[in-house]
Symmetry: C2
Subunit: 341 residues, 2 copies
């Protein structure tokens, strides 16, 4: 488990740098994907492109479309299909963000006000539905029923993960297995479908398609594990993400699951039960949670767990013919635990 | 415009009777559709089938799946495909109901508490997403990309209609054309896709497919027009629907659009502006709205408008080979203005 050590080294190449390199090498394709997205936001109802483009322009790392483009290219797909799919995957992602922010009552995302705050919860629900439906229209254009099958199944899984997350909220008895189930469904399923569908439109043989599925799935789990660890890292406040959101919402992420397991004595257990189980929080509680986590080295351990998934992601690609793009994907996975945003 | 007179005659065959006859003649197929639906509500997350089956068991008229079954049969489709499609259409409908009730803050539907009241808004948003995704999985099983194209486009249109409805809410200057645009999108698009997709899986020639599209579209408009008229009919209170909901929410439906156009003098215009535009309502306001509508014969005129669409629906089927089922559909359209629920 050396990755957590890498994660703590300020001189290692960061995830952001590897992602930026990949983004730069795909700049032309990403531009084409953006055009497809913008074309498909048009509507006779002006509020729809307004809400949607607010969200989509707010940016984000475009990781999912990048992965679809990369797997499509590595499997020799003609350029058009991975572009359509990359756009579809990004629209599904945008739709889930709109609905997530309503469900979580979120006010900030990447340092900007969320769409539900600016436009309203109702608008966010309905525009999310619109984007979701548009994503399916894009998939139809690939002419591949298998892609539609994979992405509709992934969409089911995402909502199941979101519902399960809602059900485990404030349940301090939530286990690591349940948490991994939530993360696999709500986050990793879309990464897995993104990479797998690129392989499908490249007519990849089954072992290669499966390798891309495994890559996306394990990358997604690692990515969410790191994200959840960063929520207990005060350094993240500086870069726009609001640290402590998960704590305030009583989300049962790996850091709190590990911290609760390590609680010493009645008073500490009562602290977690009050703050997370009952949702009764006072000033200083979040700081105390972080202190207890620091004492028990909870964050490095959560990053170790992430690193194991990241390694599984990278090694899954060994069946894919060597290529610079394959190395970039492997690198992206291995560096996903070296993040500050 | 004789239909409104029929609508007022208590001895005419009612919509409910024609619909019950159709339902009875399709009982075996509907049973198969129910099985498909129940099979596809299964999930590792128990809350999902709980919310979904609450909604689906609450019943409703099953009009959309009936229409898909009917058009499929009239076009000679093998039984399996219309069943899958009918289930998909009903799941899309259920998903939109879950999201609608959140958006409208509704508490009652068909005399029962809504899912958002029993299970929560968040749960309704997420389970709606799940049902929507499941619907697409069912469509994939038909093997028809055209069906997916038609139903994903219809799903886009539905959300556009919902957003437009939200935008016209409390806008007393809303025109009849804008209202028809809302109704065509939020309600009629799904009926149109339901009947059209049955024709598609029956490999119907283009004019027949188009006839079924026109049937569903015009039926859907008529159906919603009648629904909106019933919201200003105190008799509907008795059968579980809450009359006055649209008035309380400031929804710009045809009855209020006609009533505002006929308002006499400053005081009446101020009444509509206060109650609908500003949403400031006091006891007796709804009754006064109904009285003003009665004076200007607003409801019969709204039903006349519905009857014209119903007639267009029925006559669209003239290109379809005569059959008892075709007559039932024509009858269903023509009787859609003879309703009390």
């Amino acid at each position: 488990m050396h990755m957590a050590l890498v994660a703590e080294s300020p001189t290692a190449t960061s995830f952001a740098e590897v992602a930026a390199d990949l983004k730069a090498s795909q700049a032309h394709e990403l531009e084409a994907v953006n055009e497809v997205i913008l074309d498909h936001l048009s509507s006779s109802v002006p509020l729809i492109p307004e809400v949607a483009s607010y969200l989509i322009k707010a940016g984000g790392k475009r990781l999912r479309p990048l992965m679809t483009l990369a797997s499509g290219q590595l499997c020799g797909a003609p350029a058009e299909k991975p572009r359509l799919l990359a756009a579809a995957v990004e629209l599904i992602h945008a739709a889930t963000l709109l609905h997530d922010d309503v469900v979580d009552d979120s006010a900030l995302r990447r340092g900007l006000k969320t769409a539900n705050i600016i436009f309203g919860n109702k608008e966010s629900v309905l525009v999310g539905d619109f984007l979701f439906a548009r994503a399916f229209q894009l998939m139809v254009k690939t002419g591949s029923l298998r892609v539609l099958d994979v992405l509709s199944a992934a969409s089911c899984t995402i909502s199941e993960g979101e519902v399960l997350q809602l059900e485990t909220q404030a349940k301090t008895a939530t286990t690591k297995d349940q948490y991994i189930q939530v993360v696999s469904a709500k986050t990793a399923a879309l990464f897995a479908a993104a990479t797998q569908s690129g392989a499908i439109v490249g007519d990849a043989p089954e072992p290669v398609e499966d390798a891309f599925y495994q890559y996306g799935l394990n990358f997604g789990i690692a990515y969410q594990l790191v994200d959840d660890a960063l929520d207990y890292d005060s350094a993240t406040v500086a870069i726009g993400k609001t640290a402590g959101d998960d704590f305030r919402e009583g989300k049962m992420t790996l850091p709190v699951i590990l911290a609760i397991a390590d609680a010493r004595g009645t008073e500490e257990r009562a602290f977690w039960e009050r703050t997370l189980g009952e949702g009764v929080q006072a000033e200083g509680d979040f700081e105390r949670a972080c202190d207890l986590m620091a004492r028990d080295r909870v964050i490095p351990r959560a990053l170790d767990a992430a690193a194991a998934y990241a390694e599984d992601a990278a090694s899954a690609l060994s069946v894919v013919s060597p290529a610079p793009l394959r190395s970039q994907l492997e690198d992206l996975a291995r560096r996903s635990v070296v993040r500050r945003s």
